[in-house]
């Protein structure tokens, strides 16, 4: 089982992107302290997103005719790996680049592609995804937000989304809503709509998290009138489209590198204090070895995307393993540092450690919880 996951090499032309991209990143993070870089893909900087777009690092898998770069998932792997390893602030374009763009390309009309994709590739159209609702978390099929088709073909949207990453910074939301039936109909009757977040009737309230950041928000829709072409893909096929989209969301390097800024800072600390005992080296080596395997697994799933597949189960397997590692890192490094109470720890390293420690629970919540993913893997194994 899962035999399609095999070692895959990145094409040399993608590897060749690294040096120029690094120069751009170095400029963006020069002033950022380590604990800000540890925000990983939750750090927001709209001007940096635009710079990346101008330099041709966004819309990598979108065709050139829509303003994209016409390359593919391997290219995006390289770019994302560079951005995350450095702790660059990527939240602005993240969702549009990772999943909204590919979704619109795949399911959108020609007009929708022409309208959205060139701006996504320039880092000028920022997207969020409206999935969770107050009563719908892991049980996503129970969403109650509702868009009713009007006689003139437009849509009237009412309801509420919550925990929507970056809603307050975004131009558009791709929302999963009910367009027919009732919540008892579950997966059928759901559709995806592109919502212009500047429309009247929309209220966005940021939610502050335990680290003091506000990266997610609640979004209220009160009789929001959407144009007929707000529908993306087929009416009633929202569930199928969301499932395919999640394969993009779950397998990338962002599922293994969320704690890597902390690891690098800790390795520099060990060097600075000259600690090289065997227990320390074993921990350094164990984290490094696990990350090396996870990276190859992530690359193997990316290769399935390149092959045109939708590796839903493989991506779930990858994400569960990867986020488990990401969450173990702050626990282990915290124990290591505090096992040496007489060793001076730089305050910036301590802030970074505690930031990652506090935010780590989110790693296995966002994009599908551990329990949901394991249910998907079980289905892939033939158990349900």
């Amino acid at each position: 089982m899962f035999e399609t996951l095999t070692l895959s090499a990145l094409p040399p032309e993608d590897e060749a992107l690294r040096p120029a991209l690094r120069a751009l990143i170095a400029e963006a993070i020069a002033e950022l302290p380590t604990n800000r870089r540890a925000r990983s893909w939750q750090g927001f900087d709209a001007s940096f997103s635009r710079k990346l777009g101008q330099a041709g690092y966004l819309g990598l898998s979108l065709p050139k005719e829509y303003g994209g770069v016409g390359r593919g998932p391997f290219t995006r792997f390289v770019v994302v790996e560079e951005l995350l390893s450095a702790g660059a602030p990527v939240a602005g374009h993240w969702i549009a680049d990772r999943q909204s763009g590919p979704l619109i390309r795949h399911y959108g009309t020609e007009e929708q592609r022409q309208f959205y994709l060139p701006r996504i590739s320039k880092g000028e159209a920022l997207f969020c995804i409206g999935m969770s609702e107050p009563g719908s978390g892991s049980d996503l099929a129970s969403v109650r937000s509702r868009a009713d088709r009007q006689e003139d073909g437009s849509w009237l949207l009412n309801g509420q989304k919550i925990w929507t990453t970056n809603a307050m910074h975004s131009d558009y939301m791709i929302a999963l809503v009910r367009t027919s039936g009732t919540s008892g109909d579950r997966q059928s009757g759901l559709s995806q709509l592109i919502v212009d977040l500047k429309l009247p009737g929309i209220t966005i309230r940021p939610i502050v998290d335990l680290t003091g950041d506000a990266h997610f928000a609640e979004v209220f829709f009160d009789n929001v009138r959407l144009a007929p072409d707000a529908l993306i893909g087929e009416e009633g096929q929202g569930w199928k489209q969301v499932t395919a989209e999640l394969a993009f969301e779950r397998s990338g390097p962002e599922r293994i590198y969320s704690s890597v800024v902390l690891i690098d800072a800790w390795v520099r600390h060990l060097d600075a204090v000259g600690r090289k005992d065997s227990a320390t080296l074993r921990l350094v080596g164990s984290l490094t070895a696990q990350l090396a395997v996870l990276r190859e697994m992530s690359l193997a799933v990316t290769a399935r995307l390149v092959a045109g597949e939708s590796p839903v189960v493989e991506a779930s397997l990858m994400k569960d393993l990867g986020t488990g590692f990401e969450q173990a890192v702050p626990q282990l490094i915290g124990d290591d540092l505090a096992s040496h109470p007489d060793e001076a720890v730089d305050a910036e390293l301590y802030r970074t450690l505690l930031y990652v420690t506090h935010i780590a629970p989110s790693f296995s919540l966002r994009g599908g919880t551990r329990e949901i993913l394991r249910g998907l893997i079980a289905r892939g194994l033939g158990l349900r």
Partner: protein, 307 residues
């Protein structure tokens, strides 16, 4: 060459000669000569020997699926070890001895030492063959044995990759067996595999089995003289998985899993032995940690790409 043309006949050969009954007979100190002769006659023992020395000239990465099959079927003889040993000996221009060869890389139990005719020590460039003079471990039905007074620590990286490949094959089989059992065994009026608690455990087992396979492949990619970092990642990952895979498989199987007559133990005993052989996850973590700590200014992502 299409590797599948080699993999399928090799799998059929093993299925024919390494039935669970035949494996148990060898483990109970029965005559292993006919089983060995079948492997010797198949020509597969020279799969890794270079072509100008009469072998098939496969790379270790090419042969990885063959070696994994040996783990998958719990083959009780050092077929993979002999493949590696014969390739190293042929490359060094040494004579190739008949009979099974085990590789000794430390003072712990040597995998298949108890059923080997020869012990390989020395280094990849200067391998040394000695007649097997081993001491039993005293562990029930153990094919492994101590081989005192030889020094093969320089063979540890390649042997670790070999062991990782065997682990990956056994782990994959254990996954298949455990999923099948969970679908068959019924309690509370339904197969236990319908219980979410069991499904969650089996998902972790599957993750670890895949991780072991990928880790082993990382080791195999740099050949019979693996880069130290590749060998470390391979054996660390495979050993880490071995313990978890065995534990979950037994938990799901319940009491039948620890009975001698049930085949799961043929695989899980090997998983544990191979986890400890040629350095455990902790040993290889130390090796890799030393390499990583020597480049503290490097980003971890860069280090693992270069490794």
């Amino acid at each position: 060459m299409d590797m599948q043309e080699l993999i399928d006949p090799f799998a059929r050969l093993i299925e024919d000669i390494c039935t669970p009954a035949a494996i148990r007979a060898v483990e109970a100190a029965g005559d292993s000569a006919p089983m060995w002769q079948a492997f010797a006659d198949s020509g597969f023992l020279d799969a890794l020997v270079q072509e100008d020395a009469g072998g098939a000239g496969l790379s270790l990465a090419d042969a990885a699926p063959l070696i994994a099959l040996l783990g998958h079927y719990a083959v009780p003889l050092p077929v993979g070890d002999t493949m590696v040993a014969r390739a190293l000996l042929a490359a060094a221009g040494a004579e190739l001895p008949d009979g099974p060869i085990a590789i000794a890389t430390g003072s712990g139990a040597v995998p298949f030492g108890g059923v080997a005719a020869h012990i390989l020590s020395g280094s990849p460039d200067a391998p040394v063959v000695t007649k097997a003079q081993t001491e039993p471990t005293g562990v029930h039905h153990d094919a492994d044995a101590y081989a005192p007074a030889v020094d093969g620590r320089a063979l540890r990286p390649v042997s670790a990759v070999l062991r990782a490949l065997l682990i990956s094959g056994a782990a994959g089989r254990v996954m298949d067996m455990t999923v099948a059992y969970a679908n068959e065994r019924s309690q509370f009026g339904k197969p236990i595999g319908k219980q979410q608690a069991v499904q969650q455990q089996l998902s972790v087992l599957a993750e670890q089995a895949v991780a072991a396979r990928i880790a082993a492949a990382i080791g195999a990619r740099s050949g019979l003289s693996p880069r130290l970092a590749d060998a470390a990642v391979a054996k660390h990952g495979a050993s880490l998985a071995a313990g978890q895979v065995a534990a979950i498989a037994h938990a799901v199987h319940g009491a039948i899993g620890i009975s001698e007559e049930y085949d799961l133990q043929l695989l899980t005993r090997r998983l544990h032995g191979w986890r400890l052989a040629d350095g455990s996850e902790g040993y290889w973590a130390g090796v890799l940690g030393e390499l990583r700590a020597a480049a503290p200014a490097m980003a971890t992502a860069d280090f693992i790409r270069a490794a």
